[in-house]
């Protein structure tokens, strides 16, 4: 574990490195260094990309991308984190290193609006069809207002009574 942390410090020069839990390492890098870091981890035996996900830090106006890679020989998870601009979120694709990232990047694009350069599928809809609003997992999206405008609810009262034989 310590050996790996020291190696990462020398090779990647991360902004921050810590161990949030047992057998987990969190590495914070600059957004330009994401692609190099993923290639480095892949070459070091972290062959599984478990997830690519995103966190919306609305006060700092930043989106934080999180890549989690796993090594089956060491049994260690590494969270690779980088913060990108919230207004124009752009990231280089990881599909040339981990082909499975294709669908994770589609998901992040759909729910957070991050553009992935080099992934042609990223802009295709994955879960939501015909979406017509800002990406729904951003903090400034109001699901209640969207739901009220699209999906009418049942008015309580008259109908409820009439099913039990009351007056309509």
């Amino acid at each position: 574990m310590n050996k790996i942390i020291n190696e990462i410090k020398i090779a990647l020069e991360p902004l921050k490195i810590e161990t949030p839990a047992l057998r987990q390492i969190a590495v914070v890098v600059k957004p330009d260094a994401i692609h190099n870091s993923l290639a480095y981890f892949r070459q070091k035996g972290f062959t599984q990309l478990s997830i690519v996900t995103c966190i919306d830090w609305i006060k700092e106006s930043e989106l934080e991308l999180v890549y989690i890679v796993l090594s089956w020989t060491e049994g260690i998870y590494i969270q690779l984190r980088a913060r990108i601009d919230r207004e124009k979120p752009v990231m280089v694709t990881a599909t040339d290193i981990f082909p499975g990232a294709r669908y994770y990047e589609r998901e992040v694009h759909e729910f957070f609006g991050v553009d992935f350069l080099g992934n042609e599928d990223a802009a295709k809809p994955l879960f939501l069809e015909l979406w017509d609003d800002i990406p729904p997992l951003r903090k400034d999206f109001d699901p209640q207002a969207y739901s009220d405008s699209k999906f009418p609810m049942r008015e309580r009262g008259n109908e409820f009574v009439s099913e039990f034989g009351g007056n309509k």
């Binding site: 069809e129 009418p152 109908e159």
Partner: protein, 183 residues
């Protein structure tokens, strides 16, 4: 819009309903979490077969469409496809509180609120989710409704087709499915 339950069948429809009520094929389309209550209902413990009901693979051969829980807009498009493929008489049984008024997904951006705006529901089974006993009770209620001629949702859908279509289009935007599996 409330379904009326007046019996206005002619004698041949009465005979047909008498026989179809004793042999109901259900299209088991798993839309939500309630689908997990169906295996015990179908298999030996509760044994739906003793009501004369059985599962069927395709909508064109089925009589009952089960909406087992919450419906996302994406699923609702497929459900409308399935419902319009079914032969009449066709019935919809809706499970749980999600189909009545959204349930715990009342403020979700992806799931609809009330189902009977989009499709005619003949019977609601209450619960979140309904236990197999409740489902069996609901199905025997559906059989009684068919025999008495009260399950007229499919006629209502034909008569008020524009109203249903308008609601569907208002919420979904477009019903034709154009995902990468239909290209």
């Amino acid at each position: 819009m409330v379904l009326d339950k007046k019996d206005d069948r002619n004698v041949w429809e009465k005979i047909g309903d008498y026989f179809s009520a004793n042999s109901i094929w259900m299209k088991w389309y798993c839309t939500g979490c309630g689908a997990i209550e169906m295996p015990p209902t179908m298999t030996s413990r509760f044994d739906m077969e003793r009501l004369g009901m059985g599962p069927m693979a395709t909508p064109r051969q089925a009589d009952v469409l089960l909406i087992t829980g919450y419906l996302s807009t994406k699923t609702l498009r497929r459900v409308i496809y399935s419902y319009e493929q079914m032969n009449s008489p066709r019935f919809i049984v809706a499970f749980g509180s999600c189909t009545i008024n959204g349930g715990i997904y009342y403020d979700s951006y992806a799931t609809i609120g009330r189902l009977d705006k989009y499709l005619p529901v003949d019977l609601y089974i209450s619960g979140c989710m309904p236990r197999p006993e409740t489902i069996m009770n609901g199905f025997s209620g559906l059989i009684e409704m068919i025999k008495k001629g009260e399950a007229k949702g499919w006629k209502h859908y034909q008569e008020n087709y524009e109203w249903y279509k308008k609601n569907q289009l208002d919420s979904l935007g477009k019903i034709i499915i154009e995902d990468e599996f239909h290209e």
